[in-house]
């Protein structure tokens, strides 16, 4: 039968030699400082940067359309779409970025750190979820409108009136359908990526708070 004090002695007698074998020197520490963090917050930041990059590329592609078609109407619609999509996304990305920058609280006590991490991660995921849900119909509607308008301006869809109420209603319906579809998809996606981690943090905090 092993006594816990014996375990402590076993630990003390052996841990130093075990640690000594894994010692790193100053140069190795210096190299580590330049390494990329695998921390969840840094990964969220990295994902956000990729998201912003892809978004900017899409906007640039839209901005290139008028140069290709040389039509005044097309240029106006493109600029309008860029402006209308860019502004809400800009606020969305700034909000997300600011939230992520608030995360660093590793020097707090474990309990405070877990409380802060949970609160901030929940807030961030809420912004992520509702931001995506809100922006889906806006993007869907504007994209559908821009495509139809440009096709008409270029001589296609001759018997088609873009500003017709019926057409606008269909586009609105299409956007709402897109939103309805994106709701479960986004819920699943966010839960898969970060939900389990959040649950784990909540379990740790719950355990830390448990008395009996």
């Amino acid at each position: 039968m092993i006594d816990l004090e014996e375990l402590k002695h076993l630990w003390k007698d052996n841990i130093d030699s075990s640690v000594h074998r894994q010692q790193v020197n100053s140069e190795e520490i210096k190299t580590l400082l330049k390494a990329k963090s695998a921390n969840i917050i840094d990964r969220l930041l990295q994902n956000l940067r990729i998201e912003i990059g892809v978004f900017m590329i899409c906007l640039l592609l839209i901005a290139c359309v008028p140069f290709y078609f040389h039509a005044r109407e097309v240029s106006i619609v493109c600029l309008l779409v860029i402006g209308l999509i860019f502004i809400p996304y800009l606020f969305y990305y700034i909000k997300k970025y600011r939230e992520l920058k608030k995360f660093y609280s590793y020097s707090a006590s474990m309990k405070s750190h877990l409380e802060m991490m949970i609160a901030q991660l929940e807030k961030y995921l809420k912004i992520y979820f509702w931001g995506s849900i809100f922006l889906t119909p806006v993007t869907g509607f504007l994209s559908a409108f821009a495509i139809l308008y440009q096709l008409k301006a270029l001589g296609f869809l001759l018997y088609f009136d873009t500003f017709n109420y019926g057409i606008l209603s269909y586009m609105l319906l299409f956007s709402l359908l897109l939103t309805l579809l994106s709701y479960p998809v986004m819920k699943w996606y966010i839960r898969k990526l970060y939900g389990q981690h959040l649950e784990k943090l909540k379990d740790c905090l719950k355990e830390l708070n448990e008395i009996a």
Partner: protein, 164 residues
Amino acid sequence: MVAVNTEQLFIQTINQHQGIIHKVCRMYCSGQEDHHDLFQEIVLQLWKAFPGFRQESKISTWMYRIALNTAISGLRKKKIQTTGIDAIAFQLEDRQEENPEVGLQQLYKAIEHLSDVEKSIVLLYLEDKPYDEIAEITGITANYVAVKMNRIKEKLRTILNVRP
């Protein structure tokens, strides 16, 4: 110049106290690769927090806080394969007298059956930290630490005393 000095001071601090990081890594990782990843992550988090260290607490307390917080919440961990409880008890009792290193390995295997929070408290206990310091690191009261420690001891006793 200031940045270089800060970096030198940091490297010097890590050199002196890297045992703390290795012990935390050993507690939370079973494989060498995981150990290396967590070690790197803890060093990075310490480096980020280093300019904010005001020496209000001991450097070791500060390091334990960051290292344990990183181990618990920073990384999404892979599922670790744990040995069966019966096997641990059998191996620990029979082999630790032959080779203490083997006994230590079995202690780690027993620790794998603890939760992440329990691991942090047991590490601080094994390191002979007083309950006040454990309370400072974990953020719960010293009395509460004592209650938790008793429960962990019971759990470890159950794990280590079960016979095949």
